[in-house]
């Protein structure tokens, strides 16, 4: 299973079925047993028994759009699923529903605007999708309210070790969990693929309520602010500086001694790494760390530019570094002394 295959799957929060089915098939063909809970989370064990029990988790869902309604002229009104800056929506082609009906999100021609208008962004309720129909009835033959809307963005390597794709947040994490489960690591690992993280860490709450583990590794694609005009102290992470390790975010403070153990292992194995340098945003660690009696967590991520857009960008070397770091860290844990 390549990262490319995972990124191109359509799995907007609340509609993760295809992602879940694909992951299930991949795990089962590797001989692993899979269970699916009532939220739709997918849970798998690597089949090893040991005293220390690790959890590794990633969310399957991505941000996207949903059809709200169809107006009289046949144009489709929509809303966002998960956090999306509406300014990224203009002048794009999208695909709607299970039939992938193509449509465009257009904009008022520049010739008909006053200069002052262009200074204000379009709000989502001013936008609509045009699939080429002329009436409500016609549109209703192909599209219904509640249909999920997906961006079109094929996986594209470019530049110097860079990759553009949609949903790097968080198919990167899904890829890592799959690899760690299928690798023959000498320690008991439960893999948890959660749903609806983008809607407020929903799936992970249910998963956390049912997990007994000593440490959970939360694996992600995370925001990166290394554009030129961003001041140095506001750059959360930078591409090319290695996997990012969190100290604190909106939903968790990570135990400093655990973070230090992780960075020590990275240094010992000459794996470049960086801190995730501010506390904006949150992830499923918020649930695992604070449910039942609480389970310590660590968050490790690959930095992604333009996160939550169809054109997010990562550096392959950070991605490879993340995989290597997780592997050696888990091996170290299995030798004892870390936990």
């Amino acid at each position: 299973m390549l990262l490319k295959d995972l990124c191109e799957l359509k799995g907007v929060a609340g509609n993760e079925k295809i992602v879940r089915d694909t992951i299930k098939k991949d795990l089962e063909s590797a001989g692993k047993k899979v269970t699916i809970d009532r939220m739709g989370n997918l849970i798998v064990s690597n089949g090893v028994k040991s005293d220390i029990h690790l959890g590794v988790t990633a969310h399957m869902d991505e941000v996207g759009l949903m059809v709200k309604g169809i107006d009289d002229s046949g144009l489709i009104r929509f809303t966002n699923v998960g956090g999306l800056d509406p300014r990224i929506l203009i002048s794009k082609v999208v695909e709607i529903g299970d039939e992938d009906v193509p449509g465009v999100i257009g904009a008022k021609p520049i010739h008909m605007q006053k200069a002052a208008e262009r200074k204000k962004a379009f709000a989502m309720d001013q936008l609509y999708i045009d699939i080429g129909t002329g009436s409500k009835k016609e549109t209703e033959n192909s599209v219904s309210p509640g249909d999920y809307i997906n961006f079109i963005s094929p996986y594209q390597p470019f530049g110097n070790h860079k990759v553009k794709a949609k949903a790097l947040d968080n198919r990167i994490g899904c890829f890592m969990v799959l690899e760690l489960i299928k690798m023959d690591l000498p320690i008991e690992i439960t893999g948890i693929f959660t749903v609806q993280e983008e809607l407020g860490l929903r799936g992970s709450q249910v998963a956390a309520n049912n997990l007994e583990a000593d440490l959970v590794l939360v694996l992600e694609g995370t925001t990166c602010g290394d554009l030129t005009e961003v001041e140095e102290h506001l750059k959360t992470t930078e591409l090319g500086k290695g996997p990012a390790i969190s100290l604190m975010d909106r939903t968790s403070i990570y135990q400093r001694k655990l973070v230090d153990k992780l960075t020590e292992v990275a240094d010992q194995h000459h794996i470049p790494w960086q801190y995730r340098r501010n506390s904006f945003g949150g992830n499923d660690a918020g649930r695992f760390q604070h449910s039942k009696e609480g389970t310590p967590c660590l968050s490790v991520a690959t930095p992604c530019r333009y996160i939550h857009s169809p054109v997010s960008v990562m550096d392959e070397r950070d991605f490879e570094g993340m995989k290597k770091l997780l592997t050696v860290f888990i091996e170290e844990i299995s030798k004892g002394g870390i936990l």
Partner: protein, 348 residues
């Protein structure tokens, strides 16, 4: 050859104002079988001539080859490219677009967005062109001389089919017009007509109808029509400022149209059961017809507009039917001049 085929090829080929060269190759290939001669002038206008039996007058049809685009204005210390626009670009259509930077070789790039913790949830203001950056995935040293200041950048967008024969893609302004001209010359292939017809694929219309100035000077036509696109109706636009898709081309009325040309276009449409609409423009039309009209001793001009939604975005949308219909109207208009005196036609 198939007109839709030409349209698809044109959409896939980049041709920003001033840099239309690659399009010229595509156009020549398609128009050649139907033309008596194809030449180009100093600015790159492609001039396709179909001679008439009697050369009793000169008609010129103009559709512009160029599309709006971007140009690299600086490569910053981190390897990001700063851009300026060529033609009228609404900065709001740029965030999160995939682009091609036409440097030493074609490079893939992305126009990104600042992350939310920096925009601080302030989503009401649009992002200024000055603040947008093109990311080609290289540092300044890695970019080297792959990209230079002055290189052209286009948005990646291939043709997509929507329902009802509608087509979306970039640069349908004015590739739709170019294909109408192609349909027109194809229709004339088997016909006998008296007047000479110049099908001119103009350059640099988007930066000031510049190609039309020099091409009209060279041709010195009696009658000239610009075939461009008109504002397609969508809910937020005033109905009276727009044309409806699928109802045929707009025939323009106003100072930029010679009254006899207006009358003749309408009657030709009616006679041949071609759907049309009337487009109102009291003054400047923003098309090649504007400079054509005052060239040399004056030209009797008119404008045909193919209805197009979302103009100057990369998801411009037209109805294929409207393109075909416009091509039919052009060829029937040519046939009208058989056995007619040009001087009578031009007479006020």
């Amino acid at each position: 050859m198939d007109g839709k085929n030409l349209l698809e090829k044109l959409i896939q080929t980049s041709g920003v104002s001033g840099y239309e060269g690659k399009l010229a190759e595509v156009v020549k290939e398609f128009f050649e079988p139907y033309a008596d001669s194809i030449t180009s002038d100093a600015l790159g206008n492609i001039i396709v001539l179909k001679k008439g039996q009697k050369s009793s007058g000169i008609l010129m049809f103009a559709a512009h080859l160029d599309e709006i685009g971007l140009m690299v204005k600086k490569i910053d210390k981190n390897g990001y490219l700063h851009m300026t626009s060529i033609g009228g670009f609404d900065q709001r259509v740029l965030p999160c677009q995939e682009v091609t930077v036409h440097g030493k070789e074609d490079l893939f790039g992305v126009i990104g967005m600042l992350p939310p913790h920096i925009t601080g949830g302030k989503q009401e203001d649009s992002i200024k062109l000055e603040d947008l950056l093109i990311d080609v995935g290289y540092s300044k040293e890695e970019v080297g001389d792959l990209v230079s200041v002055g290189d052209i950048v286009t948005i990646n967008r291939n043709m997509r089919l929507l329902k009802n024969n509608r087509i979306t893609g970039k640069a349908l302004d004015d590739r739709a017009g170019v294909v109408s001209l192609y349909e027109g010359i194809k229709n004339l292939h088997s016909q006998i007509h008296d007047v000479d017809v110049y099908f001119v694929l103009t350059v640099q219309e988007e930066v000031g109808t510049r190609g039309a100035i020099t091409s009209t000077y060279g041709i010195n036509p009696d009658v000239g029509l610009a075939v461009d696109v008109g504002f397609g109706k969508t809910p937020e636009l005033n109905a009276h400022d727009t044309l409806e898709l699928s109802k045929g081309p707009g025939i323009l009325v106003g100072a930029n149209t010679h009254p006899n040309v207006f009358k003749r276009l309408k009657e030709t449409a009616k006679k041949n059961h071609i759907n049309y609409q009337v487009e109102v423009a009291p003054g400047p039309t923003g098309t090649d017809a504007w400079p054509m009209q005052i060239s040399g001793s004056g030209v009797a001009t008119g404008v045909l507009s193919i209805p197009l939604r979302y103009m100057h975005t990369s998801v411009e949308t037209v109805d294929w039917q409207d393109i075909e219909t416009t091509g039919q109207l052009l060829s029937h208009f040519v046939m009208y001049f058989n056995s007619k005196e040009m001087e009578d036609f031009l007479c006020y």
